[in-house]
Amino acid sequence: MQHDALGGSVADGDTVTPARVMGGAAVFDFGIRARPDAATEVVAVTRVTSSLDGFWGQGVGFGVRELYARGLIRGVVRYRIGDVDLHLTPLTLSNRNTDLGGGHPEMLRVWSDWIDYDRFYRGGMWRQQGVDADAVLAVRPFDEVAIRGILAKNRGTDYFFTPDRLLGAWEAVGTRDSLRIGYRGVSLFDVPTTAQFSEAATATTVHTVNGSGPLTPHGSWGAEAGISHRSHEGLPEAPEPATAEVAEAWTRWTRPAGAWTFTVRHVASGFRSAGAQSRQVDFGATAATWPFVTNREVVRSLTPADLLQDGGVYRPAIAPGLQAYSPIYRAVEPYGPATPNRQSLTAGFAGKSVAIEAILAQEAVGEGIAERRRMAALQATASHTELLAGRPLRIDGLLRTERTARPGLADLGPGFDGIGEVDWMNARAELGVQWEPEPDAALHAAVLAVTARGTDYLAVRDGYDRITDYTAFDATYTAWLATAGVMYRFTPSSRLNIQYRTQWVDDADAPGTFGWNQWTFLYTLFF
């Protein structure tokens, strides 16, 4: 349950937008697990939703949230049919392209964990409908070879102009001692015969091979390389079929203080991997709370608070094309490790209470100009625990900052100087404190700040992902979010969170500063 109050200069003179709104829902996910025989299991999870205003049955929703069967055929082939959760590698099939990312303090993680659960994002998985089967074979010279096949429905047909779209994936990984060598392919393809009046079809396929193994007792290596291929049929304006390459290699060294990882990666500008490049946040979506502001009913841009707790702005499906992103949150690798047109060197350290990742990157080819963007990103998270008044106190901190630069045009005459120049910085900082005065109670406080400044040129792409234009994106953006609250644990499986949150956003591109105060009451029970 939440109660929201609008503030900031954006509310001045606004006689249309309600200054206060209240909402909420009770959500009950009920799972049934049946075992028809020793080798088969059927799982069905139903969801009953009752909105805060749903008196006497109004506003009540009932639906099947999950339904799948899984089992073992002749003790050899493991399968799952129905809802399947898919993940292969970061370059082929992976769902980690978020914007606020992980590493939140406990108080903010309440919300990000809920979105991961609600949208089936956990573990970097993509939730699809289909069949997933795998088996392990003994094949020389390997100790074993694991093979896997996946076929899932990505989009349904409208029977007239939009054909069905399927996701197919296959994988074979051989293991001998600690050495692993694998091959995999992922294809997102249309089935044109499923739409009566359309012969159009697009297929995007990725093939990669990878390997990993030990170097020394404390060191290991890994590499993955492959190609993507995209082709179109029945689309007269479509580009010719295109192939592009990707390659990465990494090495990891474990020391008593933690593990160091170094990664070098090249992703060609034409590399397309739908399963790895699809993004979670839809920046074209409207927010659930105050989607429009001012008397002119301007669409409100998504803020950090929306990204934290509004599940409606998160996409449920893999998309074939590169989706729009906001450089306010991610500019260096907006499509994750598979971000096209990147050459990067990444160094990471993961210790017990500190984790640091630094990325140095540049474009593989210039975007609209011979000069290439050069980028750097640094993310550090740290946590510290000690006793305060004899009770545990935990402090979590996160800092992420990115910088992008590119010289503009020069020596082309008056009027050209500076065109194309990029000078962009975005940063996010989070700090959280949690103290447990009682074994079942905790006091929380957290602050999140997002800022972005400078100029970048965002590519405008057509339906085939070709760049057709650029938008000069100037931003002076600052957002602060501060929250405090209590958590009480009734039992090990049930707890109540009461939070007060205030957010303030100053966006030079918006009609005014945007203030948002919110009370939330979140009761969760797992059984």
Partner: protein
């Protein structure tokens, strides 16, 4: 196992080297920022590389100009006595003879005479007009041959089957034709045949319900250059055959010309629209004057209209079974008012389009 590990190290090293080697590519992705955000300026005016040209001797004229940004440009060469026009279009920043050369051909009829020609360069996105050097034609190029002429509309006895749905003009005209444009107050367009004294005119004052206005057809057996029941191009390769015509546009912007090739797939001497294929190509007419139109045979696509050639008994385009050429006047959907076009010198060429 040690050897495997050693191989693993080697693989890692090779992969890393491969990454480093593959790190430099000079090309640019997407349109250039210079063209999208830079100011438009003419850095060098339009000029021709010769002031006189003898096309009969195989000479050409090359044109040059230099712009600050890449933008859509149109070079026109206009015969000051004949009114003939040649249009060359491009999108270069540095216009050179490789992309702007004139070999004496026309885009809009009539043909060039031995005359002085004005040259000008205009731009789609900018109002500027650059007038260039005047070029004097001292010798005319030899008229290209065609494989066969379907009709030049000079022979009043040539059978042309015409059919009409709404009230329309659909006739062979000779000499000067005054076309009612159905405006208020009334206005008329004066149309002279592109060549000779005959042409075919189709026009109407249509309402939104009418898309098909009228049509006409000429059997292969009745073509000016008849090759029997079926057109004989000497090749069955659709990539080597071109339909060509001079098409008059009135400037209404909503008229469409559809050309149809009707096949007698079972070779019984008749065309059955329910079971035999018709292959069509459509040209939106957005110009004023007589324009040379060429369509390669493989651009003709099987009819999608049920009962009108959408079923092809052989399942393929058969250039040796075309027994009729059909030409239609269509109007764009949801439009009203005057539509029309004129046709002259319908012909086929082989290996290259007709370039008078």
């Amino acid at each position: 196992m040690n050897s495997v590990i050693q191989h693993g190290r080697g693989l890692w090293a090779v992969a890393a080297m491969g990454l480093l080697v593959g790190c430099t590519k000079p090309e640019i992705e997407g349109p250039e920022l210079q063209d999208l955000f830079g100011p438009f300026e003419v850095l060098e005016g339009l000029s021709a590389d010769r002031s006189e040209v003898n096309f009969a001797a195989g000479e050409q004229v090359g044109f040059t100009a230099k712009l600050s940004i890449r933008t859509d440009w149109k070079l026109e060469i206009i015969g000051l006595e004949s009114g003939a026009r040649k249009v060359i279009e491009g999108r270069e920043r540095d216009i050179r003879a490789e992309v702007a050369a004139w070999d004496g051909t026309i885009t809009f009829a009539p043909l060039f005479a031995e005359e002085a020609c004005a040259t000008r360069l205009t731009f789609v996105e900018f109002p500027d007009t650059l007038w260039g050097d005047t070029v004097v034609v001292t010798g005319l190029r030899t008229a290209p041959e065609v494989a066969l002429v379907v009709s030049d509309f000079e022979n009043p006895a040539q059978p042309v089957a015409s059919f009409t749905e709404p009230v329309s003009t659909n006739l062979r005209a000779t000499g000067t034709y005054y076309q009612n444009l159905f405006t208020s107050p009334p206005s008329f367009a004066t149309v002279e045949p592109a060549q000779g004294s005959g042409m075919w005119i189709m026009s109407a004052n249509h309402v939104p319900a009418n898309i098909f206005i009228c049509g006409a057809a000429i059997d292969a057996a009745q073509a000016t250059t008849s090759t029997g029941t079926y057109f004989d191009f000497g090749t069955l390769n659709p990539e080597h055959v071109y339909f060509n015509a001079l098409v008059y546009g009135f400037g209404d912007g909503i008229s469409r010309l559809q050309i149809g090739l009707k096949e007698d797939d079972n070779l019984d001497g008749t065309y059955d629209r329910f079971t035999e294929g018709a292959y069509n190509a459509e040209v939106p007419i957005d110009w004023v004057g007589w324009k040379v139109v060429s369509i390669r045979a493989d651009a003709f696509l099987r009819s999608t209209i049920g009962g009108y050639g959408n079923n092809d008994a052989t399942g393929r385009q058969d250039l040796d079974r075309i027994m009729q050429l059909e030409f239609l006047l269509l109007a764009q959907e949801q439009t009203t008012g005057f539509v029309g076009h004129g046709l002259d010198f319908l012909n086929f060429t082989v290996y290259e389009p007709w370039r008078p």
